[in-house]
Symmetry: C2
Subunit: 139 residues, 2 copies
DNA sequence: AATAATAGTTTGATAGTCAAAATATCTATT
DNA sequence: AATAGATATTTTGACTATCAAACTATTATT
């Protein structure tokens, strides 16, 4: 059903736009820049990661990421660690302070998720999780 | 169920991150900047809008938006129109070329949505739409 | 009528970004 | 094992995006 798909598509875009807005507002409040929070979010969720991989996930060049990570190292949020097998590569990981920041930020997301699904039944919430998991796997 | 909610939360964040990545990649390919595409997307979805409102949705100050809209006017994507009742306000709306760009971009989103839900039944897709609508209303 | 609040623009300083060049390391071919 | 090509990261210089604050014009409040 074409029209139905159109609605789903637009609902997804609307959701994305609203989440972006929310994230921007949250980030501005706590004094860090959006790329920094984004980085903390990705590392917190996925664990240590190579520069290249991280740059792709964030959507910037590695050159841009280098200067961002420099700042975050200075701020004590992340650290650079040697890759075990590939000496060209560097792993970026959260420091304890970075982990704390991730958890703080994650709490805000948790609250948002709770607010958004306040009218969902236990069963609906579980179905929604299943849908998201399947969609995320298709990316 | 606390743990379940945590999973839903993280699945949502993962979805958001992946969609961001996708959007970045798409935008870079077609030569426009992310804020410009973002603006076209919002105007195409919501119709004409005041500067203030648009700035809030995008997550920038009105000063920043002014220069962005200047560029987009020059590029022929949007135009400024007087507000009917409030002479302080200005409505920004898509030109025909802007509308075309919106539809082109929307097609890419449509394709992505179709790809992501390729394994969904008609019923699941409809349920997913219902979930997104309810969530969007809670924002 | 005066004052405060709001919408938008302009400006100067700061931060973010990219492309291209440079360095170091890894992989593949001969 | 030697060479050539590919890959990961950093550095650099130019450009773009961003904000905060000052400014203009209009509307709302008292």
């Amino acid at each position: 059903m074409k029209n139905q798909d159109d609605h789903l598509n637009h609902a997804i875009i609307e959701f994305y736009e609203k989440l972006s807005s929310w994230e921007m507002a949250v980030v501005k409040d706590n004094g860090f820049s959006l790329p920094q929070v984004h980085t903390v979010e990705i590392l917190g969720l996925n664990g240590p990661m190579r520069m290249k991989e991280l740059a792709e996930k964030i959507g910037v060049t590695t050159g841009t990421l280098t200067v961002q990570i420099d700042k975050m190292v200075k701020a004590g949020l992340v650290l650079r660690r040697a890759h075990e097998t590939d000496r060209r590569s560097i792993l970026v990981e959260l420091t304890d302070a970075g982990q704390v920041m991730f958890e703080e930020h994650d709490k805000l997301h948790m609250q948002l998720t709770a607010d958004l699904t306040v009218n969902f039944s236990e069963q609906e919430r579980s179905l929604m999780l299943d849908f998201f998991k399947r969609i995320n796997n298709e990316f």
